[in-house]
């Protein structure tokens, strides 16, 4: 799609404001309303061009949602150009689906406005702000529902990358391995560099494992992590009074 320059818009100029749209349908409706176009008979070629120009002007021409809509409009535009068999009653207007979507969206917008107004009115009535002291009272009784717990468990299982619950995959270097490596280094050397610990081609997991292991060992008092200059190399020093936990 060549979008080097804003497309010259036919008929009348239109104004679009930045950040004013909640999505491609919103923008499309804006273009249609502003030009007082009959939604049942949209001049699809003109609207498609204006839509492209508008997303270019708004810097939205890389937003997938808007591009998808632009492609959709162009498909309809092409379909409208195809010759239609004369006197064919079965011909379906390629714009029909678009019209249905626009109407549906307009309806949603109307409800959204109502919701907004209603929420605005509700937010004008405040509940009591100063909450009662509950410090001396025992914690409130709990509600726990088996179904809810199960739903949660299932959601968790499904969200896991692969089956972590039964995972037997080789790992680059886990925290435990990193801890071993650090302890080995500390046994022979009093001070070493983070880069030495990480080796020549560390994976992201290696780096994270090492950092976690370092922090844990530092917390346990086995070593000290220091950086002498900002952005300089990170030094790991064996702690003087080494106490095993």
């Amino acid at each position: 799609m060549s979008m080097a320059a804003p497309v010259q818009v036919a008929d009348r100029p239109f104004l679009v404001q930045l950040d004013a749209f909640s999505g491609p349908l919103d923008l499309l409706l804006h273009l249609i309303r502003e030009q007082e176009i009959d939604i049942a008979d949209i001049p699809i070629g003109r609207i498609a061009d204006q839509f492209l120009a508008a997303i270019h002007q708004l810097g939205l021409n890389e937003a997938a949602d808007y591009l998808e809509m632009a492609a959709y409009l162009l498909r309809i535009k092409v379909a409208m150009l195809l010759p239609r068999p004369l006197g064919d009653d079965e011909w379906e207007d390629p714009r029909a689906e678009l019209v249905r979507r626009l109407l549906e969206y307009e309806q949603i917008r109307e409800i959204a406005d109502w919701v907004s107004r209603q929420a605005g009115e509700r937010s004008d009535r405040f509940a009591r702000g100063l909450l009662p002291e509950a410090a001396e009272l025992p914690p409130p009784p709990l509600l726990l529902d088996l179904q809810e717990l199960l739903a949660t468990a299932e959601r968790l299982v499904e969200g896991l990358p692969g089956q972590v619950l039964h995972r037997v995959v080789p790992r680059p270097l886990d925290t435990e391995g990193a801890t071993l490596r650090i302890r080995e280094l500390l046994a022979t050397r009093e001070r070493f560099d983070l880069l030495e610990l990480l080796g020549s081609a560390p994976t992201v997991t290696d780096v994270i494992s090492c950092l976690i292991a370092l922090l844990e060992l530092a917390r346990l008092g086995e070593l000290i992590v220091s950086q002498d200059v900002p952005f300089g190399s990170v030094a790991i020093t064996r702690a003087v009074a080494h106490e095993a936990h």
Partner: protein, 180 residues
């Protein structure tokens, strides 16, 4: 003021959330639903007749004392209360779809709005306005969303039937299924 009314006032005040008739009846072993309703009426009347700045309101989960609307501006301007942040257009549209189509999955929401929905859905769920209410058919058994009591509370509604009916909207469109 009757003693039950006085207790109910204190209880509504202390709870700082909507309280049900049943809960209020628990304040007095001899009180039944009828007594509670009469007491609530007495309290409401006392606030109205006395020209008070607070009122008894019936919401989704029961009765609650709230400040009167006409006091909001002055209180907010005196910086005594923070007004909740307004929802974005994207959030409002998503809420509108879920309110009318529930239970509804992400794909349907995205189809109607023409925009990706994961971020908005997560935000609405974190704010407690929607929740997963089940799973749909099809690939991956998509999560289905519905509105919560907090949503009703946000709008000050008793239940979903108080939402405007589709026939009342100026844009006429029947729910899917009836269209084709």
């Amino acid at each position: 003021m009757r003693s039950l009314t006085k207790l109910i006032e204190a209880a509504l005040f202390a709870a700082a959330r909507p309280v049900t008739i049943d809960e209020l009846a628990g304040l007095d072993p001899e009180a039944g639903e009828h007594d509670v309703r009469a007491a609530l009426d007495e309290l409401r009347l006392a606030y109205d007749a006395g020209g008070h700045g607070i009122e008894v309101v019936e919401l989704a989960d029961g009765f609650q004392i709230l400040t009167r609307r006409e006091c909001a501006e002055a209180i907010a301007e005196a910086r005594l209360v923070h007004r909740p942040r307004k929802l974005s257009a994207a959030a409002l549209e998503t809420l509108a779809i879920i309110a009318y189509r529930q239970p509804v999955g992400r794909a349907d929401i995205e189809q109607i709005r023409g925009v990706q929905a994961d971020g908005v859905l997560r935000m609405l769920q974190e704010r407690g306005l929607i929740d997963v209410v089940g799973r749909g058919e099809g690939i991956g058994r998509p999560l289905l969303y519905g509105t919560t009591a907090a949503f009703l509370e946000l709008l000050g509604l008793k239940d979903l039937s108080e939402l405007p009916r589709l026939e009342e909207l100026s844009v006429a469109l029947k729910p899917p299924g009836e269209v084709r």
